[in-house]
């Protein structure tokens, strides 16, 4: 099914990731069920209010409704919910949580939330993250506590609120937080994951369209600056991405010389 057609009637934001349409599809089907139930109830309800209003010559009946139709419709509701749950939600969640791309094939990025910004940590050309230690964290240039004595750290790219990803390439994001709970949210990619201090939680996605810049927000109340804890994800073509990466690396070399 073409995602554009069946989701247009609900006010979703654009949907640019590979797993995103599955999320919207379920959401749409659930809302179909909700609308059908609500409309059915509403028609019956309004009919009753008019037809059974108190008036001259009208009397209430002691035991009028047998409720067969209601029972049938309740079974219908149970079945519909079961289908949504078992046929759509569970498989979609399991597929998304279990079918991680391989670490080798994917771009690996660490995301570290802090009041009130998103830090991005790329492993650099060697593909290995430098060692980090919370004891080394400071506000004067080493907010992630990177141990510069580790050779793997030399080429690591650190950005603030700026998240570059290549189009059509799986990305694995390891999410954590330095201080309080945040929630790493990219609506257009249907990505939302709490950043919990003390835990590193991996998620993955693949952007399949929408080259350009899109909002990253924080969805979990994290203090007075929660509302402005935002960054941008740049969905790059592979050329754009390679260019950005190379430029960052050369900046690093320039700085260390």
């Amino acid at each position: 099914m073409n995602p554009g057609t069946w989701r247009d009637w609900l006010p979703y934001p654009p949907n640019l990731s590979e797993h995103g349409p599955g999320v919207d599809q379920l959401n749409t089907y659930v809302h179909y069920l909700m609308f059908v139930m609500f409309i059915a109830w509403a028609i019956y309800f309004v009919y009753c209010l008019i037809h059974f209003r108190k008036r001259e010559g009208h009397k209430a009946v002691y035991n009028p409704a047998k409720g067969k139709l209601a029972k049938v419709s309740e079974v219908g509701v149970i079945l519909a919910e079961a289908i949504l749950l078992i046929a759509l939600s569970m498989p979609a969640w399991a597929a998304y949580k279990k079918n991680f791309p391989s670490r080798e094939e994917a771009l690996n990025v660490r995301v570290i939330g802090e009041q009130f910004a998103w830090n991005f940590h790329y492993p650099g050309n060697d593909g290995v993250f430098g060692r980090t230690d919370p004891k080394l964290m400071n506000n004067t240039g080493n907010s992630l506590g990177i141990d510069m004595s580790d050779p793997h750290a030399k080429d690591d790219i650190i950005t603030l609120n700026e998240f570059h990803v290549p189009l059509n390439k799986p990305v694995i994001v390891d999410i954590s937080s330095k201080d309080v709970i945040h929630s790493f949210t990219i609506n257009v990619l249907r990505v939302k994951q709490d950043a919990v201090p003390g835990m590193v939680i991996p998620i993955h996605f693949k952007a399949v369209s929408g080259v350009g810049a899109h909002e990253i927000t924080c969805a979990q109340l994290c203090g007075l600056g929660h509302y402005r804890m935002q960054g941008f994800v740049y969905i790059d073509t592979s050329e754009q991405y390679a260019q950005w990466h190379a430029q960052k690396e050369s900046e690093l070399q320039g700085a260390s010389q």
Binding site: P13, V23, D24, N27, V30, M34, M37, F38, W41, Y44, F45, L49, F52, K54, K59, A60, Y62, N63, P64, A65, S73, E74, V77, I78, E81, L84, L85, L88, S89, M90, W93, Y96, K97, Q115, P134, K135, M137, N138, N139, G145, D179, V180, I181, S183, T185, R190, K192, V196, P197, G198, M199, I201, E215, A219, Q220, L221, L224, Y227, R228, Q230
Partner: protein, 584 residues
């Protein structure tokens, strides 16, 4: 044949004369305590509501100063009339806390439960009148502590009504007072719940078997179990958080926590998610504490005004019991985005879908009860029938939140706010209004004015929906909740007209409560006097008591002869056959 409804003269209490203080302030009479709960809770509802009126200004017109308010509230909250983000968060956190713990629950359980339940079971009082009074006073102190926290340095709690750690662990001292307040409030609920359970089990009058109890009593019974079993974990959790804040423990602080460049001294070994599990283990059952008494009130009012028995009395009761038990198994559906794996998510989304079924069944039964009726559109009935579609929206919007996959998009957005407000505001609060209009004549001996009542109803209905329906759209469009400045993101900016619309609806909703406030006080002295103890021609026991009921309630213990909703029984001359009247 049937005896005419009792016209008791108002009995003088046979007890020793009590002084003013013992009679009206430190009373142990369940009715006085119920009224105390009711008035206190209404004041808190109004206060909690005004906090959000203030907050809605910032959402509609971010950063626009209100000079005179700035002068009243001062530099710490609104310097130059511009709301600080901290203050915004305080308003949000205290609104939630006050509405839930100091408004709705005390009104639904403390006031209605206390006043009506013993009357409906034909008891002279609660089983433990002194514990009952203690329950009110713990609640009162809890409320005072919460209010006091507005005046401590740094202001009151600002981490949401959920007080997630570590944010709450490192918050200013107002959070400590929040925790102290919660400990009082929880203790109050525990004392109340034990009392309710014992009273319902032990003190039902002659002939009143469990299957003859009004639905309202059943709802209170199950609610009491929820309070009794769910609150202790939160009380423990609150104490642990207090320890983290005061004694240097780290129950909720993991190792290596660095806040604005500084390592937290007591960081190490704890888990932030532990708090969430403990909190939601309480707070999911708590949401049923918010809704079940409301459903009970609606059932009473619908039976009375349809002039026929409820459809499926036993079905409704079994559904309530099932919801009660099941509500302890769904709590982690509030935590789907915390990194939960497949097994847990499967369990919790399955239980959540299962618990939605009895809600559907209750709603269907109440709707079926309308079939074959002769509906009187009295003011309480208007609120009770409006409850049905409003609760329907609230319940239905729980479904996409309860499925993990669709929750990815909706979690922590305005959709969640829309969902639970549909359940609690045009849902529970409408039910509570129905209850006030319905039982007011029993409490005061006078009717509330029905013209004012109808104005109050229609305006409230329109503006409630004006407030909450757009929130569902905002959430669907991906707007996060708890944002001080909704225009901070480009996407939010585009949605700003919604914010303005909602705020205006909210302010108009506030104005719509004026007829109610006027009615409430005016009718106390000037309302139409009831000419019978049973002005609604109702069937349950509270209407057999004198008006207002004296200390001890019934001149002679009533006896029950039949089911609670025997309306329009074939072959009977009257369209109601009260439980308390013996017929041939």
């Amino acid at each position: 044949m049937s005896e005419v409804v009792n016209h008791h003269p108002v009995h003088e209490a046979h007890h020793e004369e009590l002084g003013f203080l013992r009679k009206y302030v430190f009373s142990t009479d369940h009715k006085v305590i119920g009224i105390q709960y009711g008035l206190t809770a209404l004041v808190f509802l109004l206060f909690g509501f005004s906090l959000i009126m203030l907050l809605r200004w910032q959402l509609a017109y971010p950063g626009k100063p209100v000079i005179w308010l700035g002068k009243i509230l001062g530099e710490n909250f609104m310097p130059g009339g511009i709301m600080l983000p901290e203050f915004y968060n305080m308003l949000g956190a205290m609104h939630g806390t006050i509405m839930v713990f100091l408004g709705i629950v005390p009104l639904a359980v403390g006031a209605f439960g206390n006043y009506v339940m013993p009357l409906q079971i034909g008891a002279p009082d609660m089983a433990f009148p002194k514990i009952n009074a203690a329950s009110y006073w713990f609640y009162f102190v809890g409320g005072v502590v919460m209010l006091y926290s507005f005046f401590v340095p740094g202001g009151p709690a600002q981490g949401g009504w959920t007080s997630y750690t570590p944010l709450a662990d490192i918050a200013p001292v107002g959070q400590t007072w929040w925790l102290v307040g919660m400990v009082f409030l929880i203790t109050s609920s525990l004392l109340g719940s034990i009392n309710f359970i014992v009273t319902i089990v032990q003190m039902r009058t002659k002939g009143l078997s469990f299957w003859r109890l009004p639905v309202f009593v059943w709802a209170q019974f199950v609610t009491a179990f929820l309070l009794l079993l769910a609150f202790p974990p939160l009380e423990a959790a609150a104490v642990l958080q207090l320890m983290d804040r005061l004694a240097g423990t780290s129950f909720f602080l993991p190792s290596g926590l660095v806040v604005s460049g500084q390592m937290i001294p007591n960081t190490g070994g704890g888990s932030p998610l532990l708090w969430q599990h403990l909190f939601w283990f309480l707070a999911h059952p708590e949401v049923y504490v918010l809704i079940l008494p409301g459903m009970g009130i609606v059932a009473e009012v619908i039976a009375n005004n349809t002039r026929k028995p409820l459809w499926g009395y036993k079905t409704i009761v079994f559904s309530i019991l099932f919801i009660g038990g099941m509500s302890f198994t769904v709590w982690a559906h509030h935590m789907f985005m915390t990194g939960m794996g497949t097994t847990m998510s499967t369990f919790f989304q399955t239980t959540t879908m299962i618990i939605s079924i009895p809600s559907v069944i209750i709603l269907t039964s109440l709707l079926l009860s309308l079939w074959g009726a002769s509906i009187r559109f009295t003011t309480p009935m208007l609120f009770a029938i409006a409850f049905l579609p409003m609760f329907a929206i609230g319940g239905l919007t729980g479904l996409p939140l309860g499925l993990t996959t669709s929750d990815i998009h909706l979690h922590d957005t305005w959709y969640v706010i829309g969902h639970f407000h549909y359940v609690v505001a045009p849902g529970t609060i409408f039910a509570l209004f129905a209850g006030i209009y319905y039982w007011y004549p029993k409490v005061t001996g006078r009717m509330l004015n029905s013209v004012l009542g109808k104005i109050h109803f229609w305006l409230s209905l329109v503006f409630m929906n004006g407030v909450f329906l757009p929130m569902l759209i905002q959430g669907m469009a991906g707007m996060n909740r708890r944002y001080y400045d909704p225009t901070a993101t480009p996407w939010g900016k585009a949605m700003q007209p919604f914010m303005e619309f909602i705020s205006w609806s909210a302010w108009l909703l506030a104005i719509s409560q004026i007829p109610f406030v006027i009615n409430f006080f005016w009718s106390m002295w000037k309302g139409r006097k009831v000419t019978s103890d049973n002005p609604w021609d109702a069937t349950t026991l509270e209407w057999s008591a004198p008006t207002p009921p004296p200390h001890g309630n019934f001149p002679t213990p009533p006896e029950v002869y039949r089911e609670p909703y025997e309306y329009s029984v074939p072959g009977k001359e009257k369209d109601f056959s009260p439980q308390f009247i013996k017929e041939a």
